[in-house]
Structure formats: C-alpha cells, structure tokens
C-alpha cells in the first residue's frame, strides 16, 4: 500500500496511451517487487549520522566503545610491533610449529600431502563452486579503502618509540628505548603511509568507476578472486625482503635483508600453480559435462576426499616398508580369500527368493564377527586384526544385502563393490602393519600443527558415523538400543574430555591384551572420537526430531522398510537441519585438540608453549609463539565456519 503513489507516478511518467491504469499499476508493482527497496545513503556522513549518532544515548555509546577499541588496538599494535618482540622465534621455527621433527630430507612428502589437498580443493571449486556467487566490486572497493584507513590509523596509533630504517632494520641511538618526536616517527613510517594511500585511492577510484558504470561488470567470481588474492603473498615471497630465517644444524641464521628461502617460496609457488591448474581443469570439465554428469562427478571426488587422509598419512607420510615375502604369502592370499568368499556369500544372500533366511544368515555372521572381537579382548584365540575387521564388514554388508536382491545387475554391482572394498581395506591394513621408513628423533612420526590437523580430521571422520548411529539408536523403538545409547551419551557427557584423554593415553594400553598396543596419537584419537560422537549424537537427534511425522507416514505408505526410510528420507532431512550445530561441534573438536599437549603429544600448542621457549636462542620467548598459534587456529576455525554457512545457504536450511 505504501508505494501506491510512487507506482502510479511511474505509470503516468511512462509513454502515454490508452493503457488500463490498473494493468500498468500491477506491472509496475511487480517490477518494484522484483527488486526490493534498498536502504541507500547519499554520503558517508549520512550513514554515520543515521547509524552511529542517531540519538544522544547512541552517540555516547559510540564514543565510549570507539575509545575502547582504539585503546585495545593501540595496545595490540605496540605489542606486535615492539622491537622487544622476538618474532624471530616464530619465523625461524615455522617448520617446527607445523611439522615438528619430520626429517628435512623427507620434506617433499609433506609437500605432496599439501599438494594433494590443494589439487582436490581446486577441482572441487572448479567443478562445483557456483557461478552466481560473486564478490561485489562495490564491496571490494569498500574493503580496500577500509583496510587503507585502518593501516593509516594504526600508523598514527602506534607509540613513537622506535626508529625503523628504510631497510626495515631497527636503528637506535642508545640501548634505551628512544622517544622520538611524533612527527619524526610518522615520517619514518613512510612505507606504511604509502600502502594506506594506495589502498584508499584505489578503493575510491574503483568505487567511482562502478558508480558511474564505466566498468561493465558489478562483481567478480568469488572463488577466482580469492585464488588470485593468494597470489599476492606468494609473489611477495619472491620480491619483498621478508627475511631469510633458518635453523641450520642447530645454529640460528637470520638475514633480514633477503627474500624468503627457496625451500619455502618454491613449494608455495608450486602449490599456487597447482590450485590454479586444478581449478581450470575443473571448470573445463564442467563446461564439457551436462548437469547429470556433473552430479555423477561428485561421487568419485567425494570418495577421493574421504580416502585422502588415510592415503596421505599411512602411505605418503609414513612411507611403509613392505616385506614382500610376507605380502605374497599372507596378505594377498588373505585379501583374495575374503574377497572371494564374501562375494560368494553376498551373491547367495541377494538371490531373489531368499527372504527371511538371508536376514538370519546375516545376523549369525554378525554374531560371529562380534565374538571375534570379544575373543581378541580376552586373548582366547589369535587372529589377524584385518581378518576380524573384514569379517565384521562382511556381516554389515550382508545385513544390507536384501536391498540389492533381485536383478542380476544390482547383485553384480553389490559384489563388485564388495571386492573393491576388500581390496582397499586389505591394501591399507597391510600398509598400516608395515613399519615406517621415515625416521624421526621423537617417538611420533610427526608433530606440530600437522598432528592437530590429523587428529581433528580422523576424529571428525570417525565420530560422525558413530554419532549418527548413536542418535538413531537413541530414537529407536527398541528399548535395548535406546537404553544403551542413552546411557553411553549421558556417561560421556558427564565426564571431562581431559579425563577421557588421560584414560585412553595412559590406561588403555594396560587393558589391552598382550601384543596389542596402540600409539599415543591413535589412543588420543580414539578418546576424542568417543567423546565427540556423544555430542554429535545429540545434535543429530535434534535434527531427527524436527522431521515431520508425515514424512514417516509417507515413507511407510509407499512401502519403504525402516532402514530405507531412515537412509533415504529421514536422515537427509535431519542432517540438513543439524548442519550448524554439527559444524559447531567439528570446530570445537578442532580446537580441543590443543589438549593433546597435556597428554604429552608434541602438538602445535606445545611447540609454542614449551619447545620454542627452551631453545637457547629464544629462551623464555613464549608470547609471540602463542599469539601466532592462536592466529593459525583462528584462520582454520573461521574458514570452517564460513564454509558451513555457505553449505547451509546452498542446501536451503530454514527455507521450505
């Protein structure tokens, strides 16, 4: 109703003619609806007046909090840029912080891992990132000008206590901190002024150009833009003298006037080129494929993502040493045996008329498989771990086999899937059993931030299915499942994580039968998994409860079994609703890996908190490392949360 006069005005302003005014009105109203009215401000001054100083009380609040922010920023700046800071401790120990004692001459393995992930990311982005998602040029210009202004403000805010020469080295008149005059200090920071000025001018020019529509595009593709931005730090490593810092044979080398070491800038340049190439390849594939083929590409790509942590850790990083005698005489025959026998069993279980008998056989198999584990626990009879695992997998697949009964094509597909699964499982099991050839001075293969990521990734991958199963069990109609799941969840949620970790790290090996021992990192991962699963289960349960009753009834009415209903109808909807809390839990898990330091793993926190401060060159330098580590954690957690928001938007959570 409000815009009625406006639309009428628009109608009369148009070409006059014998047009039914009602029709034009409707058309105009529709046009108005297509573009929602945007709140526009004529100038920055207006924006400030309306948003910051709209009333006396608001003005007071703005001023008070503005001052607070200024003081905090000043404190942080003076801390970070003080010449007393030992940032060399961080710069020199980057390798230690990220991978701890992983041997230098094997470092190419680390880069292969990073490269694999980078290529997968590039492919995914190229294939699936939406074209529609662009960054508005207007927004870019605002951010540029804003960053420029922030830099300028920072330059002014920072206490004029040190004199920095043009080459970046600190120049002092005597050993005491010299108080310069304010203007002298300001003049000495000309590089920063220049940067601020360039950014502000560029921002304003861009904005003008967009406003006057001299530039025909109003936004750039977000992904391409982000990748292009990454080129800036990579290129700067070749050009700008960030400094050359290294520990060589325990001696500390710091050459401030040089560019970054080759061993850093070459790999990062390669990584950047890889991501660009992978993305271009993805785009090319996308252009060649139709919608359906693109959807089909998701499956192999997702499988690669799922498989990559295992392959990278056990194959690339460990470089296992295979004893070929044993492989030929034991491992291969065993894999083939399980493959063939399993295939036979599944082929039989998917015979069209098998009916109830199939279910009984599957349950018997499950019973035997479970008994194998119990027997292992009490040491009744010995059996290779992978045989136990294969048996369990066979039982689980057999339970689901009736869904594939009937047509020969489906049966063959199930059997093929089984053979592939066995090949993969036995391949990895064999490699996991083989000793590593990468020798490190510590007990663990790798430490630092790498171990944080590894534990977090495996925890998330393992706890997710476990959590979903627990949630399903807790909402099951069968009391035995319900009681078991509920008590598990309540027990875990009532115990502090650190207790669980200590239990698993120290006590677990005492409980295990002789000859079965697991490493500190593995047991910690187990503890994290069991803990995180309980919380995930509660999140998924919330999602399950939000699925409407009508969905259950409709599934029943078309004849879906309980399993089919759960897998195809209920879970997809429940998980979609629980994405935000699930990602929250994942981020929490990621951050909680910092507890690893307490049980004696050399994780990234321990590097900053005790390893670096113990080095003779950097004795007691702790704060810089901790600040840097916090920054690294934050970057990862923030990226995760941003990605989850994108996922939510794409799946349309909250709209239906």
């Amino acid at each position: 109703m409000d815009d009625a006069p406006g639309t009428r005005g628009a109608a009369s302003a148009g070409p006059a003619g014998p047009v039914d005014p009602a029709v034009t009105d409707v058309a105009a109203a529709a046009a108005a609806r297509a573009r929602p009215p945007e709140e526009t401000y004529r100038s920055a001054g207006e924006w400030i007046r309306k948003n910051l100083f709209s009333s006396r009380f608001n003005s007071l609040l703005t001023i008070a909090f503005g001052l607070l922010i200024l003081f905090a920023a000043r404190g942080l700046l003076n801390f970070v840029f003080s010449e007393e800071r030992g940032w060399d401790a961080v710069r020199t120990n980057l390798r230690l912080i990220f991978t701890h004692a992983y041997p230098e001459e094997q470092y190419v393995r680390i880069w292969v891992c990073v490269g694999t992930l980078v290529v997968l990311t590039g492919l995914s982005l190229g294939l699936f990132a939406r074209r529609g998602e662009g960054v508005q040029l207007k927004k870019i210009s605002t951010v540029m000008a804003g960053v420029g202004a922030a830099i300028a403000l920072g330059v002014i805010l920072r206490e004029p206590s040190v004199l920095t020469g043009a080459d970046g080295a600190v120049v002092r008149e005597n050993d005491d901190v010299v108080r310069q005059s304010f203007f002298e200090a300001m003049a000495d920071r000309w590089v920063w002024w220049l940067a601020a000025a360039v950014l502000i001018v560029a921002g304003v020019v861009l904005r003008r150009a967009v406003a006057s529509s001299k530039v025909s595009i109003s936004s750039v593709p977000a992904v391409e833009f982000a990748v292009a931005l990454l080129a800036v730090p990579v290129l700067s490593a070749w050009i700008y003298p960030w400094g050359h810092f290294a520990f060589v044979d325990g001696t500390f080398i710091a050459e401030p006037g040089r560019t970054v070491a080759m061993s850093t800038k070459v790999p990062w340049t390669v990584m950047w080129l890889l991501v660009v190439a992978a993305m271009a390849l993805g785009r090319l594939m996308r252009r060649g494929f139709d919608e359906q083929q693109q959807q089909r590409m998701r499956i192999p790509l997702n499988l690669l993502w799922l498989g990559s942590p295992f392959a990278l850790y056990w194959v690339i990083l460990r470089d296992p040493h295979l004893e070929w005698d044993r492989v030929v005489s034991v491992d291969i025959p065993m894999g083939v045996l399980f493959g063939v026998i399993g295939a036979g069993v599944l082929w039989m279980l998917t015979r069209p008329g098998i009916g109830e008998l199939g279910r009984i056989i599957a349950i018997v198999l499950l019973g035997v498989a479970a008994f194998n584990w119990v027997a292992a626990f009490f040491g009744w009879y010995s059996m290779l771990q992978k045989a136990r695992l294969s048996f369990l997998l066979l039982a689980l697949v057999a339970l689901a086999a009736h869904n594939f009964a009937g047509e020969i094509v489906k049966r063959r597909r199930l059997v093929m899937a089984w053979l592939v699964l066995m090949a993969i499982v036995h391949y990895f099991a064999t490699l996991m059993n083989a000793p590593s050839t990468v020798e490190t001075p510590t007990e663990a293969l790798i430490g630092g931030f790498a171990v944080t990521v590894i534990v977090a990734v495996f925890t998330i991958m393992l706890s997710f299915p476990l959590g979903v199963l627990l949630a399903l069990a807790r909402t099951s109609r069968l009391p035995i499942f319900r009681v078991m799941a509920t008590s598990y969840i309540e027990v875990i949620r009532g115990v502090p994580l650190i207790t669980i970790l200590i239990f698993f790290a120290i006590i677990l090996n005492l409980f295990l039968p002789v000859g079965m021992e697991i490493s500190l990192i593995a047991s910690a991962t187990l503890g994290y998994t069991l803990f995180s699963a309980a919380y995930l289960a509660e999140n998924v349960r919330g999602g399950l409860q939000s699925v409407r009753r009508g969905q259950f009834e409709a599934s029943d009415a078309v004849g879906l079994s309980t399993t089919q209903r759960t897998v195809f109808v209920v879970l997809p909807q429940a998980l979609r609703v629980s994405i935000p809390p699930l990602v929250g839990q994942m981020i929490a898990t990621f951050k909680e890996t910092s507890l690893l330091a307490i049980i004696g793993v050399f994780d990234v926190l321990r590097m900053a908190n005790s390893v670096i401060p113990a080095q003779t060159q950097f004795l007691g330098i702790k704060r810089e490392g901790l600040l840097f580590v916090s920054l690294v954690y934050w970057v990862f957690a923030y990226t995760l949360s941003k990605q989850s928001q994108r996922l939510e938007r794409r799946l349309g959570v909250g709209e239906r």
Binding site: K410, Q551, E553, G559, L560, V569, Q573
Partner: protein
C-alpha cells in the same frame, strides 16, 4: 487367483488402459450385513478388495472406531463422509497400518493385517495413499520422489523407474515439472505428484484422505480431475473428502460415519436425495 493377479500386475499403464469403465451401477449397493454373510465361510470373496469386520480402535480411553464393518469390491469407488472427528482418517489409516486396530479383522486383497511385518509390507505395497498435507519428500526432486519406492521396494532398475515416473507425470498432467523440488510447486501440483508417487508402486487400491482440503479453490479441480480419470481407469478407490460434487458424480457408494461408527451406506443417489437416518439428514443439511 495368483495367476490372475500376475497378469494384471504387468504394468500400471497397461492395466489402466485395458480396463474400461465397466462398473454395473446399483450392483454394489449391497447392505453391509449381506456382504458379511457372503464372505463368512472364506477369508474374503474373490473380488473383495478391502474387508473390515468389527474393527475397533482406541486412542487410550477414547474409542475412535467402533465395530466398523464394510466391504469394498474391486474397481469400486467409495466415498467416506462424516463430520470432523468422526474417525474417517483413523479408519483409512488403519487399512494400511499407519494406525493399528485393536479388535476385528482387516483383510486387503486376501491378506489379513496382523502384527506380522511381512503382511504389513505386502499390503503397503498394494495400497497407495494420498495425504491431505501431500507429504512429499522435500529434499528429493519430483522424479526422485516418484522413483524412490519403485527402485528400492519393487527393485526396478533406475531407467525403468524413471520411464514409469515420466509416464505417470504425463498422466497427472505435469510432465514438465520432473526436475523441480516439491517446494517449487503449487499445492495442486504437489498433490498430483503425490498421486503419481502412490501410483508408481502400481497399487491395487488407492486411499485418499481429504486430498483437496489443503488446496486453494482454483487448484481443487485439477486434483479432482486426476482422481476422476483414475476412477474411470478401473482403480479401486476409497476417498475421504468434503467435495460433495465428487461424491455425487464419481462414487459408487457413499459411507457416512459419525462418532466412530458407520451410520449409513448407499448409492450417491440414495444418499443425497433420500437418506434414511436422521443423523445423515442433519449432516447433509449442514454441508449442502
């Protein structure tokens, strides 16, 4: 008997095409007691599709159905009428075990509904159901909504199921919406997808629980047209509705319920012009 069914089950399209509109008017106007007597020595007579005998249903202390006895013949269209809360939905939902009845017998196509899961599975795949709230799966496209059950329950191959879905969408008049999600369709279109989804299981009976009650008036007709076409093709249908026009024109029999009981049964002509029971008259005076 099984041979006969095999032949009919060939394909939905074939079956609907082969059977012409061949219902003898009036023949089905059997009183309830007659039907009961007719099947008393056997589980059910050959052409009895749904048989209910003395069905009782309680929700806690509240009796929602008491002594429901009725028979629905093959290819018959039965409309169930009654005031709100009279137990119409409860009855229709008992027939495919969305609710469990407590006393009496329900026999669908010769299979008795018991706690035996296999019987329930069998009956559910023979009985299609359309809900007032559509209950489409919001995370699946229209095609996937329709093909889900044929692929996983009927074990059809995907191309086969998709072909079936395409022909069914054609039949309900929305072939162009196949790749959309339910949220992108109008109410009438959603309900037609729901009908196609039920038909994809090639059911022998279709149950409709107020299929048009959640629709805007202009969409009611498109759904009723589909239902009428379905009736003409020879499907056995049990329809709970407040659309008196549909009852009058399409139904073979009208069953009037109140307070969980069947009050009156008759042809539409009998029912709308000359009802015997006082309660029926009162109901009709309110709705007509």
């Amino acid at each position: 008997m099984s041979d006969e069914r095999e032949e009919r089950d060939d394909s939905a399209a074939g079956r609907f095409g082969a059977h012409t509109y061949q219902r003898a008017q009036g023949e089905n106007n059997v009183s309830i007691s007659d039907a009961t007597v007719a099947v008393s020595d056997e589980l059910a007579a050959r052409d009895d599709m749904i048989v209910c005998r003395d069905v009782d249903k309680w929700f806690g202390d509240f009796q929602a159905l008491s002594g429901i006895t009725a028979t629905i013949k093959e290819q018959e269209i039965v409309v169930v009428l009654g005031p709100s809360g009279s137990g119409k939905s409860t009855w229709i939902r008992c027939i495919n075990r969305l609710e469990a009845h407590q006393n009496g017998q329900i026999i669908v196509d010769g299979i008795e509904l018991t706690n035996d899961l296999r019987n329930i599975e069998k009956i559910r795949s023979e009985v299609g159901m359309v809900f007032q709230q559509f209950n489409l799966f919001p995370h699946l496209t229209v095609v996937d909504n329709i093909t889900l059950a044929p692929i996983w329950v009927r074990k059809k191959s995907r191309p086969e199921a998709e072909e079936l879905a395409a022909s069914l969408l054609e039949r309900v008049g929305i072939p162009e919406q196949a790749e959309k999600f339910p949220g992108q369709l109008s109410g009438g279109q959603q309900q037609r997808v729901a009908i196609a989804r039920a038909l994809a299981m090639e059911p022998r009976v279709m149950l409709f629980d107020e299929p048009t009650s959640a629709l805007d008036p202009e969409m009611i007709k498109e759904v009723l047209d589909v239902m009428e076409e379905l009736a003409r093709s020879g499907m056995t249908m049990m329809v709970v509705t407040h659309e008196m026009g549909f009852a009058r024109e399409v139904a073979d029999r009208v069953i009037f319920m109140e307070g969980g009981e069947i009050v009156e049964v008759g042809t539409p002509h009998h029912f709308f012009t000359d009802p015997t029971e006082e309660r029926t008259k009162l109901f009709l005076s309110q709705v007509l």
